[in-house]
């Protein structure tokens, strides 16, 4: 049997160095996860709003989509129905394919009619604080349901000081948090700011527990709906106007 000759020491040393270098380089080429993971989760977002009359407001929209990370793909639902629990009357949600979808902002692909339709479906002006609403969405063979109760309107009082304005409100039934006049999410029922001129209008929004929980928990992906990611929430906004040379305001 032929005996194998071993390579000279110098060659073995060089081979070892090359192998070590290759191993070191290879360890730097580690397998990394993609920057954006792929997902195709269904999502439904509906936030009911009641706003003081007489103010310009954007259309009330909803989203039925797929989280095709990083973008969002709108989906057309087979069924998109919302009813008032107390009397079972339906609301007039319509598909709005023309609404924009962007990378930084999504306006929604369903919009609620502003008022009662000719066929008797309720509009946005029928959303009432304190009422309960049920949602049913069927899309791509999945059924998504949810219920929400709109908070009552908080009653505002404005106390005008020499340098400060104080807005006080009583806790509203069904509200878990509020947007203060400064836009901050809070559980307080008082807000103090610098005194403003007459005509200044202060706004406070009562937020239902499902929306409040979703806003407070950055990792939460679902609140108020079952069967998909998303949110079914409600909020009610009231305002008070600062009167000239007075110690108060009027709603």
């Amino acid at each position: 049997m032929k005996k194998l000759r071993r390579a000279p020491v110098g060659i073995r040393l060089r081979l070892a160095v090359v192998c070590a270098a290759v191993a070191a380089l290879a360890s730097g080429c580690d397998h990394s996860a993609p920057l954006i993971a792929e997902s195709e989760e269904l999502m439904v977002y509906v936030v009911l709003e009641s706003f003081p009359s007489g103010f310009v407001r954007q259309p009330l929209t909803a989203v039925v989509a797929r989280s095709a990370t990083p973008a969002v793909e709108f989906l057309s639902a087979d069924v998109f129905a919302m009813r008032r629990t107390s009397d079972g009357r339906t609301f007039d949600w319509r598909v709005q394919p023309t609404l924009s979808i962007g990378l930084d902002q999504v306006n929604g692909n369903y919009v609620l009619a502003e008022s009662l339709s000719a066929v008797g479906a309720l509009g946005r002006d029928s959303l009432m604080p304190g009422a309960r609403y049920d949602l049913l969405v069927e899309v791509q063979g999945r059924t998504i349901t949810g219920s929400v109760t709109m908070p009552e309107r908080p009653a505002l009082r404005l106390l005008r000081g020499a340098a400060l304005d104080t807005v006080v409100w009583a806790p509203a039934s069904g509200a878990a948090a509020y947007f203060s006049p400064a836009g901050a999410l809070t559980t307080d029922t008082m807000w103090i700011g610098d005194r403003q001129g007459a005509g200044t209008r202060y706004f406070v929004t009562a937020i239902d527990p499902q929306l409040a929980r979703y806003l407070r928990s950055p990792q939460l992906t679902q609140s108020g709906v079952t069967g998909a990611l998303g949110l079914f929430g409600a909020q009610v906004t009231v305002s008070i106007e600062a009167l000239p040379n007075s110690a108060g305001g009027q709603p």
């Binding site: 070191a24 380089l25 360890s27 730097g28 080429c29 580690d30 990394s32 996860a33 920057l35 954006i36 993971a37 997902s39 999502m43 977002y45 709003e49 103010f55 954007q58 009330l60 929209t61 989203v63 990370t69 990083p70 973008a71 969002v72 990378l103 930084d104 902002q105 999504v106 306006n107 929604g108 947007f179 203060s180 006049p181 400064a182 836009g183 901050a184 999410l185 809070t186 307080d188 700011g193 610098d194 403003q196 001129g197 005509g199 200044t200 209008r201 202060y202 706004f203 406070v204 929004t205 979703y214 806003l215 407070r216 950055p218 990792q219 992906t221 990611l229 929430g233 906004t237 305002s239």
Partner: protein, 788 residues
């Protein structure tokens, strides 16, 4: 988390015992060898290093170029070195009587001047030095900046393109110290930490020490960057520079008063004021550009051949112009240092004392920021009527970080052994408060919207180090220990190193260190952030470091070319590194946020994790007398921490880094330089899911983070080019330079993450900049300087 290593007195005994045999070799008769060093043109060469081959002794030439060194009787080989000159070796006979003074003539070495890296000599293994001449050669980011040149060194990384902070040997950006003539600094950076606050004209050299720290140095787990000012001894010198950003002037004047030499330098930005004025003339107040100034004065006095002292003042200040609002004071930040050093040297004894008083501040006050629109954001951000106040725009920063540091040191040096000891104290007092979203964005996103941190720390330290060099092969070894005391606990940090010349031009070095660090910032700063609030964690972090390096200078004796190749391997075991929990939400999560209260006491909720860093570096350069210079480095390193039970890369972990610098003479005093950097992208957290958040009657994307630090940002590449011409007119040297940073307009993301990737997804090229996460764009600049 591990317990601190306390009262390991056995290490002190080992260190002390290792020095005892050295004492036996000190009883030889000696004599003083004297000499003078001059250039080929006959001028005295001051501050040249005169070392004795094979032993520890060395000295420097005086302001008339002469030296004296006590050597045992016999024949010795002296090596005379100075940057810009070719090393000279002379044989000296140390005899008791009738000895003539040596006359040493040094020739200018153009090959040395332009080199960015000058590896440490045998007496300072693991030390890398950058010369200001080299700094002038690297294409500048508007201003010549030592911190922008250091990433060209092996083992030094700068993962963020527009953040001047560095990472040494796989460490975090807060794990190395910065000193100026031995005095500690806190955050010497301008323009939201984009560039350093030092005028290269005032610097003699920048030393980077990362693989082995002498025990008397500031204890930092990743090393130190030591800046040394120019020595005014000798002849007077003056410099003035004008760049697109600033104007500066430097004066070195020997013997201003008696034997006091003075270095004074100052720099102030002007482009900001010009643009501001233009902007105001157009009625616009939107244009905001940075303003900065810095100044340095050093007065060094030679009281006698034995005593010298130095008083140093350093000042840096940055600010943004006001936005025009009466209630708004824009951010200002800066640092002031008063340092005093006294040195003594007599025969084998030398010593000194240092006192440093340092204060870093940040201030900002913005009460009302929404006066322009007069709108109040409420109820999810609706516009609602007339003027009001949005108190979420209130922003207050009031940071005050004081640091008093003092040290006494003494050395006793014999030809073949020496002992050095030091005792010091560092007293720090921090009173930092911040309030508002804008404040935290300017400081650090990880801070709460309102907080106050008031703390005092007192660290005492004692160090002892022994050094010996063998007679036969000149193997130099050191053993030392540094004991630090904080809050009643004692932390011992033993260190050792061995440096052995294998041949006349190959040197091998090994270092073993334990290091401690007693402060921390809350997280890695992002670009645009100000001076960071520094905290004192309940546990110090520590690092056990092992390093091996080899330096080869194949053309040491060549007259036409000089070259050197260096390689190093290092491994660090880190313990108790303070980190914050991983963010549960991506940084672009839309409002609303809870209301902000007044600043209340807050300390970072640190968890303490263990980890490691390993790496290998290779650096080379070759320079020719004709003016050609080619220099490059490659660094492979990994840095990982055990977090949540999993070993994960650190946010600055970038496995590969390759740099290159080529300088070519074009003739007629023109010089062309191209510098390039390539590195892997750092580890980032991917996006696992996109959901929506209702806000302002729309829906905004909310990115849900995936497994932390499991993805990697795209790789980085940048090439800078520069050209400069030098004239000599009436004994004044004029240099005009033009440079283009990112000459190929590479789109390098900074703070790259799943969020930025998601924001850019589907967008055309250029998204990185549009998304606000881009690195440096193509940036041309020009400059002129005159030296006389």
């Amino acid at each position: 988390m591990t317990q601190p290593w306390r009262r390991k007195s056995s290490y002190v005994c080992v260190a002390t015992a290792s020095l005892l045999p050295l004492c036996a070799a000190s009883a030889q008769p000696s004599a003083v060898v004297r000499g003078c060093v001059s250039s080929a043109t006959g001028n005295a060469v001051i501050n040249a290093t005169v070392s004795v081959r094979g032993v520890l002794l060395q000295t420097r030439t005086s302001d008339i170029g002469c030296f004296a060194i006590a050597l045992p009787v016999g024949e010795w080989q002296l090596v005379v070195r100075k940057f810009g000159y070719r090393p000279v070796e002379v044989v000296a006979r140390s005899v008791r009587e009738g000895q003539d003074a040596l006359a040493v003539v040094m020739e200018t070495a153009t090959t040395e001047l332009g080199r960015l890296v000058v590896n440490g000599e045998v007496l300072a293994p693991f030390t890398t030095t950058v010369t200001p001449t080299a700094l002038r050669q690297v294409p500048a980011l508007g201003e010549r900046d030592p911190f922008r040149a250091l990433p060209f060194l092996p083992g030094v990384a700068q993962p963020n393109d527009i953040l001047g902070r560095l990472h040494l040997a796989g460490g975090a950006s807060d794990e190395h110290g910065i000193t100026l003539n031995g005095h500690p600094l806190q955050a010497p950076f301008h323009i939201n930490s984009v560039m350093g606050a030092f005028n290269p004209a005032s610097l003699d050299r920048v030393e980077v020490v990362m693989h082995h720290l002498p025990v008397a140095r500031f204890d930092r787990v990743s090393g130190t960057i030591d800046l040394h000012t120019r020595d005014a001894a000798g002849s007077a010198a003056r410099e003035a520079q004008l760049t697109v950003l600033s104007a500066s002037g430097t004066v070195l004047q020997p013997h201003v008063v008696g034997n006091t030499d003075v270095l004074a330098t100052g720099r102030a930005s002007y482009l900001d004021a010009v643009l501001k004025r233009l902007s105001l003339d157009e009625g616009s107040d939107d244009l905001r550009v940075p303003s900065f100034r810095d100044a340095l004065v050093a007065a060094r006095t030679q009281w006698s051949p034995r005593w010298e002292s130095e008083v140093l003042l350093f000042h840096t200040q940055d600010w943004w112009f006001a936005s025009g609002s009466r209630d708004a004071e824009p951010p200002t930040w800066g640092e002031n240092l008063l340092g005093v050093r006294v040195g003594y040297g007599q025969g084998p004894w030398s010593g000194g004392a240092r006192v440093s008083v340092n204060r870093a501040t940040v201030a900002q006050r913005t009460i009302v920021n929404d006066v322009e629109t007069g709108q109040v954001l409420q109820g999810g951000g609706r516009s609602a009527g007339s003027a009001s106040i949005d108190d979420r725009t209130t922003s207050l920063i009031d940071m005050n970080q004081r640091w008093i540091s003092a040290q006494l040191n003494a050395q006793y040096q014999r030809p073949r052994w020496g002992v050095a000891s030091a005792i010091g104290v560092d007293a720090r007092n921090h009173d930092n408060s911040w309030l508002g979203v804008d404040a935290t964005e300017r400081l650090l996103n990880e801070l709460p919207p309102a907080g106050r941190y008031v703390a005092t720390q007192l660290v005492g330290n004692v160090s002892l180090e022994g050094t010996t060099v063998t007679e036969r092969r000149a193997v130099r070894s050191t053993v030392g220990v540094r004991a630090s005391s904080v809050g009643g606990a004692v932390y011992l940090a033993p260190r050792a190193s061995i440096s052995a010349p294998v041949t006349s031009n190959i040197t091998l070095s090994v270092g073993l260190d334990r290091r401690f660090q007693f402060d921390a910032i809350a997280a890695e700063p992002i670009e645009g952030s100000l001076t960071q609030p520094v905290f004192f964690p309940v546990l110090p972090r520590s690092s056990d470091v092992a390093a091996f390096s080899a330096a080869w200078r194949p053309h040491e004796a060549s007259e036409n070319a000089r070259s050197q190749i260096s390689a190093a391997i290092f491994g660090k075991r880190n313990r108790d590194r303070p980190v914050l929990p991983f963010a549960s939400v991506a940084d672009n999560t839309p409002p609303p946020a809870p209301p902000i209260g007044p600043p209340s006491p807050w300390s970072p909720p640190f968890t303490f994790v263990d980890g490691f860093a390993v790496g290998a570096t290779l650096g080379f350069d070759i320079a020719f007398t004709s003016g050609w210079l080619l220099q490059g480095s490659y660094t492979w390193q990994r840095s990982q921490d055990a977090r949540d039970g999993v070993m994960r890369p650190t946010p600055w972990d970038a496995p590969h880094q390759l740099t290159g610098l080529l300088s070519v003479p074009l003739g007629r005093q023109w010089q062309f330089t191209v510098a390039s950097q390539f590195r892997s992208g750092p580890a980032v957290t991917p996006i696992a899911l996109t959901v929506l958040v209702p806000f302002n009657q729309s829906y905004f994307p909310r990115y849900i983070p995936g497994e932390p630090l499991t993805a990697r940002a795209p790789a980085f590449f940048r090439a800078d080019i520069g050209v400069q011409r030098t004239w000599v007119v009436r004994r004044a040297t004029w240099v005009v330079s033009a440079q283009a940073i990112n000459a190929l307009a590479s789109e390098n993301g900074v703070r790259y993450s799943g969020v930025s990737a998601a924001s850019c997804s589907g967008r055309p090229r250029g998204c990185a900049n549009n998304g606000g996460t881009g690195g440096l764009p193509f940036l041309p600049s020009v400059g002129i300087e005159v030296r006389w």
